[in-house]
Amino acid sequence: MSTGVTEETGERALIAGLVGDRPGVWDLAGEIPTAVLRELGRQGLLCAQVPERYTGRGYTSERNGELTAYVGSLCSSLRSVMTSQGMAAWTVQRLADAGQRQAYLPLLTGGKLAAVAFSETEAGSDLSAIGTRITEGGDEVVVDGAKVWVTGASYADLVLVVGRCTDGAGVVVVPADAPGVRIEKVADPLGCRAAGHASVRLDSVRLPSSALLGGGGQPLPLLVTTALAYGRMSVAWGCVGILRACLDAVTEHARTRYQSGRPLAEHQLVVRHLAELLVAEQSATRVSEHASRCWDGGAPDQVTATVLAKYLSSVHAVRGAASAVQVLASAGATDGHVVARAYRDAKLMEIIEGSSEICQLILGQHALSR
């Protein structure tokens, strides 16, 4: 037990050392230094659930969740890159054959960076409309399509591209420098500005058939749900981090800032914001913990629990960040400030990996089917 705590302190110190006080600067610049990402990658911290036999850290979902929340409390852009890398690793774990797992997973824990490309201009919430084609022929596959808003893609060495195969769907591991690949950064995203969001164009990209995970032919809905399950869990914990950062900033400010001769903490309407933030942080933590424990225990409920956690955490993060900006007011109303970042970053969390409305539809159907 004590070893675990020491390890946890060690990894947090390492992350804090690499991140320092720079998330505000990264936010304004729209970029995280690649060296920081590669170092965290080499430490296996960007996808800590990869099993030890593939040189990963072998964390449980719950432990990785706490790590994700910690990174999320410092910098949601970095946490988004972590979500992408973890989702890529999970997709490989789930869909790849033994040889591909052996080939790709050590890269993902060895400093290479990866992104997962789902969305297209005509396929956002409705991923069944995906038009990207994976054509299999002999010992090679050819990929054609255009993906948008791929988190982490501007940093990625490998892009996992979801597309249609002759039968069903598949995921191809595309090296970012393969001929026919064009990656273009999204200019000025609303939030998670340094998360490397980019569009990815694939024009007749030819790759050996070993790049098609598990030989392809998986059902598209199953494939998408599998990959997104990890992403949703990660976003849920990331939002816990946003709420923790907001709670810290607001309590500190309320203690030290005076208005009308009294600290803000003695103004009842401000205290209400504090109480609501605490409730939000605790609720988000508890539902995320529950979903992670379902995941770790292999409970079939994990699917719904993960959607519920993502939904609740992101909705709370949006509200919590708004009230944090309200309390800090002019002190927090400049870009780069922790609560200003939280305000913009949280809104994106309500959109990605299944918007709040998609989550509501899934949860509503679940309620009806019980």
Partner: protein, 87 residues
Amino acid sequence: MSDTETASADEAEISASLTRYLHDKLKVEVAPDDDLFATGLANSMFAMELVVHLEQTFGVMIEGQDLKLDNFRSARSMAGLVTRLRS
């Protein structure tokens, strides 16, 4: 009983257990050969739940090439998958 007969008996039992599970979850009668995807009974969330259910109930890992649509079309094809993964 020969090994083959034991295997097919197991498979029938797994198939029966799966039709009960499907009935319980989907609230409709499901025959062992009903195509869950073609009939729209299964959505993506349920497909994932099925994978986890099979893994937990029958102690198998379903990864890579086994995550093919054909393996999940019906209770009978899932039973075939589980039997194959166990052997």
